[in-house]
Symmetry: C2
Subunit: 188 residues, 2 copies
């Protein structure tokens, strides 16, 4: 649409304000909702695994959990289906400006992504450098070749710039990461 | 292996005993572990969604949840990848002997399975009639055609016998449901 310049500018500011303080998780959930509403893809965040140890049981389905503990997830946070393909990824934010510390991803999550890719799925990580306001998608294959060859405990930003894909932020979907997945699908 | 007849019989008895009291969920988790160990498929049960309202935070990762509530799952319980295909299903037990009450499955779960199948995934339900000791796999397509045509609130056992697949119980994997999925994949 052709807004007068002044309004367009104001519109842009509103968008920026609405993004401020949004976490990567918010942005991905928002994008996944968009994909579902438009019947593009069915990708969900898995619930956080919690071990329940005490419950006040009630018959009316309003049981209250009185004691529980967070557990380590055995897989990645997000999975689902897109264009008939199994999609699986982990998303992390870092405040670092030059590298992404690998301690943010559990070794069994790396192994899981490798298993998925070997079996024909699309596996990747999404990493946001929050202080740079840059979000990258890195394919499992490139993640794996880094961790296998290098003994370094973090992935340099340069590696994301070279091997990864910068995901542009939009209004809706906020993070159109499936646009990047389309590139992989075309190659296959 | 060729055991003397007596031992073979005893062996069978042990297997039966070990199965006694096992829930459908136990059997499916056990089978999924087997599939992973043998590098056949990567299918996991999703954690139960829980809304946490009070937490005692601690720095050493041992935070205790003091109040939380069970939430309704937005999708099905199990999903993953097998032979490059996205797999998605819900599993339910019933004590009924002649039919499976549809109240056991939420309408949004039915909708989810339909979305998955429409996008090229393999969607189904696994239903155990625990008092008959019979477990069936019913494809989403057959589930959908039942719920669309019929106004009945339960699916008769006969429908499972006609349209579904009886899953044999084994020692390992306990419920080899992917053997049945193989049939669908061959047809496609």
């Amino acid at each position: 649409m052709n807004y007068p310049t002044g309004i367009k500018k104001e519109h842009r500011q509103i968008i920026n304000y609405s993004h401020r303080g949004m976490t990567l998780e918010d942005d991905i959930n928002h994008s996944n909702n968009y994909y579902r509403e438009k019947d593009i893809a069915y990708i969900y965040k898995k619930p956080t695994p919690i071990k329940v140890t005490k419950v006040d049981f009630r018959k009316d389905r309003t049981s209250t959990i009185k004691e529980a503990f967070y557990q380590e997830p055995s897989t990645t946070d997000y999975n689902g289906i897109y264009k008939g393909k199994y999609i699986d990824f982990e998303a992390k934010e870092t405040k670092q400006k030059t590298s992404f510390p690998l301690a943010n991803i559990h070794p069994h999550q790396l192994k899981h992504l490798e298993n998925i890719t070997r079996h024909g799925g699309i596996g990747f990580i999404i990493v946001r450098f929050s202080n740079l306001n840059e979000t990258y998608l890195l394919k499992e294959e490139d993640l794996f070749s880094f961790t296998e060859k290098q003994k370094r405990k973090s992935i340099p930003l340069k590696y994301f710039k070279d091997k990864g894909y910068l995901i542009k932020e939009n209004y809706n979907p906020r993070l159109d990461y499936l646009k990047i997945v389309d590139n992989f699908l075309e190659v296959k």
